[in-house]
Subunit: 310 residues, 4 copies
């Protein structure tokens, strides 16, 4: 369980692509090395930042196989099993666990209209068939439903969920789960991770077990430093490091909103930054995302320089 | 093109399941016969009403293969290729066309955040790789984006889209597309179909080419009668038939909203009605939908009786 | 009751302002004459198109007094009593009825979070204290709540509501109310009006009693012609007139969305059109709406010319 | 400016009503004394927790007059000027400043559709005419728009805004404003207050100047203790106090969601708690809110007892 419900900094690993949009495995493994060298305590592949929604089933499997074989158990690998409903998620669970994932990360149903009772039934069905622990992924911006805190706590108490990755941005609801899990008997193994990369210091202060910061692809050392400062009790130092990372995060806004969506801009900027830093060979994003223009990429470079990363 | 962009009544075919939630092919083929006998002008498999979001890839393929082989070209079979983004949709397009689909029905990207420019890029990418015509599926309740009317018309003018299935409920925007397509040169083959089963008469009056009514599973004869009355100029008769169908549609509300979502109630009621009418063997719905209780099924029966269908 | 729950075409009257943004009463009365000459069957002042949300209480009262005195009972004057909750709405009801309104038009609570039980309680409270009939105003784009159809029908059956003005754009729900009101005993006086100016023909076909079209400010003759054609049974003629009005409606899009909201563009365009047509002296809109630029006004002129109105 | 842009704990003061729903001035003044005795650093009247949306203009004025006269300048009194658009807000600004308010708190436009350019224009127009400092009130749950962080910072830099009360729940955006204001020249007087009563400790840690906690009506001492612990550097103590207040906050959920909205439940529970604690005479809420049932009030009492307040 310690392997599969890790604490600490667990970056959602970007998926480098070749110019013809196949998974670029050598770049992916260099990125993994970059994250491990940066001090990451675990890896989360096939999340939203990984462009899981854009990868075919074959590409998804290749990502997990490549990463799991590469890290060879040195640190835990969580894998998203991102699909609309229980039967489709279960196919992904079978695939990613066969490929070596130590835990699966699962959202509420989407596309289909849903309901708290159906969300609970969904997680129970997934957990019953999963050979590895199941971590709930609360991401309303993608699935258009907020996981109810009481449903999460009930599923945790019943052993259905091993953890939560919260990308809802709702720190008050997050705290309700953190303190609820802490105060209940038998939930000592339940891990609560924040995906809100701009308030990791605050989340840790109120009791989070770790963070899954998309920006951690670009600057893993920064998030690990933040985490270590916080654990050592240097809250002021953690805040300063967080603020440096917040400034760096501005790179997600480089894309022109008249020409592309916020996702194209953010993922494009993360990949451009990894390319500029020499970690990956090609910054291309999956279709139908709109690529950054040259001047937008240059602005990414300025953010990196300002943060001392270039 | 006439086969693949059909006009008239094209029900979105429910997917009967066995008690252990595998596709019940004999029931599926009986349902197809029921629809063909009822006068349907085409079939739409793997839509939202078909529980496409709940079917595994294997189940999806089995549905298309079974139906396409059964109808053997006597009427066109459209198939949903419902997934999050271009690369994943293209895998479904390959699968359903190999299985015999005459056209594919594709939504805007979902889960991923999107943008009009990305929506256009998505359809262009899908159409470039599809061996059959592509029909846009506007269903904001599922994908949380409305297809912009001007994007649809531009894609139609460029030959990217062969038609539109509009389940947005926004009749004014629908009309904008209907008249826009009619008034532009070279768009004579572009078909505009409404998925709003409660205002089919109105949609036809303002120029729709046909309808894709979920309730048409339960009462295909009714929708075909409505369509024929309208074509013959008997608008008053069409309205009366539509109102009868609106009353019947009340069956989707039988499920207790404290216990299940609106989707579980609606799909559960359609299947319960098909079971009560003797068309399919088992009314079960896919996970994690909540089943109707016995008294809720009885209320479905009352709706059928009131409509003269039981 | 016939006066206060009118049928037919009831334009929501724009509120002309002077350059320093006071109510321009002479222009307002010329606009009223323009609408009456155009054949309007009633007037609706202080609606959304009237910029009621932007008018002070003093300006609101001046509008009702001026219009009511001017028409002197020749046709019914409905007045919006647009505010957040019951006590505030009741102050407006007192004010507009003292000023001569024949009926009041009231939305669901807004700003405050609400609930169907609270919506019902709101209308019951307003009706109990109102000296004139109360018409419900369903406008989710403004109040962010949809009036539940069953609540409307229950309030109609109880004599709380004398009618509904539906600007929700949801024609299926509208039909549910139209047929529900028709089929219940004792609801013969309940009037259902559509605010969806682009599908008035469809709304009339399914049983609406009339329309409240914002575009009717610009072209009242068109909407009255549409209504008369429909009543005479010339549905094809009604459709053609509606389509001409739909094309004219394009003028609401002239404002640059990078520079202003859709409301500034639409209200600005209506007023620019009235100014270009010589009905009002000044096209200014209330603060903080952004004014149209000169080239945007010129595009309004082109829409008018294309519709034969300039 | 120090008076009008206070720091620290500034409760949004509930508005006690008599059984016939008039402002209960003696209870209001006892509540003010309770807050002042509790250590409040300022008072915010006519906010959402004050039921400003439910109070008539006369009642609003009476509240400000009574409170301002009572505190007689001993601590600053901010007053909401809650209305839809600039002209209507300005009438409230005139009224509440005549009644003695030291600052006004103003939301984005609502009911009317809006746009960032219109929001900026709105605040500029209000500030130009206001005799006292203007504080922006970011409350998307009520106005259905999020104040863009860059608009807030631009208005702060231009001297339009003296502060921000953030009830958006988006701590990352809040931080962007806190650090942005801190890092810009000349913004030393701009105050950033959180309305998120469940994460006040986190907001203070990242640099907030104070808090406006609705629950502070019930337990002002708790929030003042939290604030003082935080200022003294005892972050662990602040966290423990915040967690005690979070547990107490559960009282807002006592109302049955099948019977009332979340607002009726929360405001009803605050007033029930104040009544049970002997601060106000009558727990009634304004129309059309649904009153709590007796057993729901008893559950409020249990929350108070568990928190050591009864």
């Amino acid at each position: 369980m310690t392997l599969t419900s890790p604490t600490g900094v667990i970056p959602p690993v970007c998926t480098p692509l070749t110019p013809d949009r196949e998974v670029d495995v050598p770049s992916l493994l260099r990125l993994v090395d970059h994250l491990v060298t940066g001090g990451a305590h675990g890896l989360f592949v096939l999340g939203s930042t990984s462009e899981a929604a854009y990868l075919t089933d074959g590409q998804r499997r290749l990502v997990v196989e490549s990463v799991a074989a590469h890290v060879a158990g040195e640190l835990p690998v969580l894998a998203g099993a991102i699909d609309m409903t229980t039967p489709r998620v279960l196919d992904h669970v079978a695939s990613v666990t066969a490929a070596g994932a130590d835990g699966v990360v699962v959202t509420a149903p989407f596309y289909a209209r849903t309901h708290p009772a159906e969300i609970a039934r969904h997680y129970r069905g997934v957990a019953a068939a999963s050979p590895v622990p199941v971590i709930a992924y609360d991401i309303p911006v993608a699935v258009h439903t907020k996981l109810p805190a009481d449903v999460v706590l009930e599923l945790a108490a019943d052993g259905v969920l091993a953890g939560l990755k919260d990308s809802s941005g709702d720190l008050a609801a997050f705290r309700h789960i953190v303190t609820g899990a802490r105060d209940r008997q038998g939930l000592t193994g339940f891990r609560v991770l924040t995906g809100s990369e701009l308030v990791v210091d605050a989340a840790l202060t109120l009791g989070a077990d770790g963070a899954v910061p998309g920006l951690g692809n670009v600057d893993p050392h920064g998030y690990v430093r933040l985490y270590d400062l916080h654990r050592s009790g240097d809250l002021e130092g953690a805040r300063a490091e967080q603020e440096r990372l917040c400034a760096l995060f501005g790179l997600v806004t480089v894309g022109d909103p008249a020409r592309m969506g916020a996702g194209s801009s953010a993922i494009g900027a993360f990949k451009a930054a990894l390319h500029l830093r020499g970690v990956i060979d090609c910054p291309v994003t999956a279709e139908p995302q709109v690529p950054l223009a040259q001047d937008e990429v240059e602005r990414v470079g300025k953010y990196l320089a300002a943060a001392g990363l270039l």
